[in-house]
C-alpha cells in the first residue's frame, strides 16, 4: 500500500472541541481506486476526521492532504474533485428538487446531465417537489445525485444510509457501485464511514478501525477475513477444563468452546485435537465480526477475545 500519492493522506491529525479531544494523532492513507471504510464506535473520531478532509474543520495539529493538496490552502481545487454525502443532508427549504440540483450544479465545473436524469428516474424523484416534503430516504437520494453528477474523483460518505429503510439502503449501495464506480475506469475512490458494515462488506476493500481518535488497525478486507478465524470445539467434559496455548482466551459454554484466532490456527487445532473433541470446526469472520473482536475492550480471562 505504499502508493507514491494516495488520494487521502492524513498524518498526526489532532482536533478538539472545546478542550475535549475528538481526534488525537490520527494517521490515514487512502489509495486511488479503492473503497476505504472507517469503522469505530460513536465518538471514535470518524466524522471529525472527514470534516477535516472537507475543510469544514481546520486541523489544530498535523497534516491533511487530498490529491497531494492542502484543502485549507487549495480549497477550490480540492473541492471540485470531491463530493460528500452526510448522515442528514441539508437543503434550502424554499427550493424544489430541481432548483436544488441547479443550485448544486452551479458550483461545479462539470455536471453529467444524463446521469442526473437517470438517477431522478431511478429514484422516482419529482423535480417540482419541494425539498421540505421529501422523506429522509429521498433527501439522501437527492444528496447522492448532487454528489455523483459532478463525477468526483473522491466520494466521501459519512454514515450515508443510517436511518433509511432496507430498500433505499440497497439502492444507495447499488448506485454507488454502478453510477459512480463504473465511470472512472477503476480509479474512483470512496471513503465511507458506516455502522452498517455487512451491507457495505462487498464494496469495502480496505478499512481503518478508529478508537479514541486514533487508528488502531488498518487492513485489506480480504486479508482481514483471511487472518481472523473462529475455532469451535465440543468435548465430552466441561470445556473450561481444556488447556489452550498460552495467550489464547476461549469462551466456554458447557462442553463447547469458541476461540478467535489471528493468523495460523494450526497450533491450536493440533492441541485441541489431542484432547479428543467430539466436534471441531473452523470458520472465517465477516468484517462486522472482526470489528466486534478488534474494537472490544480488553477482555478478562475466560471471555471471548
Amino acid at each position: 500500500m505504499s502508493d507514491p500519492m494516495p488520494v487521502v493522506h492524513v498524518r498526526n491529525l489532532h482536533y478538539a472541541y472545546d478542550g475535549s479531544d475528538a481526534v488525537r494523532g490520527l494517521n490515514l492513507s487512502v489509495r486511488r481506486g479503492g473503497c476505504h471504510a472507517l469503522f469505530g464506535r460513536n465518538g471514535a473520531g470518524k466524522t471529525t476526521t472527514m470534516k477535516c478532509l472537507l475543510n469544514l474543520l481546520q486541523p489544530q495539529e498535523g497534516e491533511v492532504r487530498l490529491f497531494g493538496l492542502d484543502p485549507a490552502v487549495d480549497e477550490v481545487a480540492v473541492k471540485r474533485r470531491i463530493a460528500y454525502v452526510p448522515d442528514s443532508p441539508a437543503f434550502y427549504p424554499w427550493m424544489t428538487v430541481g432548483e436544488t440540483i441547479d443550485y448544486l450544479a452551479s458550483f461545479r465545473p462539470q455536471w453529467n446531465d444524463g446521469k442526473e436524469k437517470d438517477l431522478l428516474r431511478r429514484f422516482t424523484l419529482d423535480p417540482r417537489k419541494k425539498v421540505t416534503s421529501l422523506s429522509k430516504g429521498q433527501r439522501t437520494q437527492l444528496a447522492l445525485i448532487g454528489a455523483l453528477c459532478p463525477e468526483p474523483e473522491l466520494l466521501v460518505l459519512d454514515e450515508p444510509t443510517s436511518g433509511l429503510d432496507p430498500i433505499v439502503r440497497r439502492e444507495f449501495i447499488e448506485t454507488v457501485i454502478g453510477a459512480y464506480q463504473e465511470g472512472g475506469d477503476g480509479d474512483r475512490t470512496i471513503l465511507v464511514s458506516t455502522h452498517l458494515i455487512s451491507e457495505f462488506e462487498g464494496l469495502i476493500d480496505e478499512f481503518t478501525l478508529l478508537e479514541g481518535g486514533r487508528e488502531i488497525l488498518t487492513l485489506g478486507a480480504d486479508a482481514a477475513r483471511e487472518r481472523y478465524r473462529k475455532v469451535r470445539a465440543r468435548f465430552a467434559r466441561p470445556a473450561s477444563e481444556i488447556e489452550l496455548p498460552a495467550g489464547l482466551h476461549a469462551r466456554c459454554v458447557g462442553r463447547e468452546l469458541e476461540v478467535i484466532v489471528q493468523g495460523d490456527e494450526s497450533l491450536l487445532l493440533r492441541q485441541l485435537r489431542e484432547q479428543q473433541p467430539q466436534a471441531l470446526e473452523t470458520e472465517g469472520l465477516s468484517l462486522e465480526e472482526i470489528f466486534l473482536v478488534a474494537a472490544a475492550p480488553a477482555a478478562p480471562e475466560g471471555a471471548l477475545r
Partner: protein, 152 residues
C-alpha cells in the same frame, strides 16, 4: 448472497453465492464459481457473461472486484473479452502441456488429501467420493447440454 447470473435472457443461468465467512478472497470466489459453472455445463462455450457493472451492482461488490475476477478468468483462458461485445466463455483449450496440467491438478488434489486425513476419511472412501463427484459433474453437464439442444 445468491444472485442469478446470465448474460442474456435465453442463456442458461448460473448462480453466484458469495460467502464473507469463508476466508477466501471475494474475487477468487467469483473465479472459482464461474469455473465450476463451466465445468458443470451451466455455462457453455460461447455463452456471454454479464458485463461488469450489472454483476457488481447485483452482487453489491466493488466494481474492481468483478473486474479483477474477469481478468483472472481471461488470463486462465476460461473466458475471452471481445472489445465492445463483452466477455464470453471460451472453448476449453489449455495451452499447457499435459504434464504441467497434471502437476497443477495434483496440487489441488494434495489439498483434498490433507483435508481427508484430518477429517479421518479413509483412502477407499476418498477415492469413491472422487468418482461420485466426477460422475455428478458429468451428469449435470450432459443434462445441461441436452436442455440447450432442445431450446435451440
Amino acid at each position: 448472497m445468491t444472485v442469478n447470473v446470465s448474460g442474456a435472457e435465453t442463456q442458461p443461468a448460473m448462480l453466484i453465492e458469495l460467502n464473507y465467512k469463508s476466508g477466501k478472497p471475494v474475487y477468487l470466489q467469483l473465479v472459482d464459481q464461474v469455473k465450476a459453472a463451466v465445468a458443470s455445463g451451466a455455462l457453455a462455450a460461447g455463452d456471454p457473461l454479464p458485463s461488469i457493472r450489472p454483476l457488481a451492482e447485483r452482487l453489491r461488490v466493488n466494481r474492481n472486484t468483478v473486474a479483477k475476477a474477469y481478468e483472472e478468468l481471461e488470463s486462465q483462458g476460461i473466458i475471452e473479452s471481445l472489445p465492445g461485445k463483452g466477455s464470453f466463455v471460451r472453448q476449453p483449450k489449455s495451452p499447457l502441456r499435459k504434464e504441467i496440467r497434471h502437476e497443477l491438478l495434483a496440487r489441488e488434489i494434495d489439498q483434498s488429501v490433507v483435508a481427508a486425513h484430518h477429517l479421518q476419511v479413509s483412502r477407499e472412501d476418498f477415492l469413491e467420493l472422487v468418482r461420485e463427484r466426477y460422475e455428478q459433474f458429468e451428469q449435470r453437464r450432459d443434462s445441461a447440454q441436452s436442455i440447450q439442444k432442445e431450446t435451440r
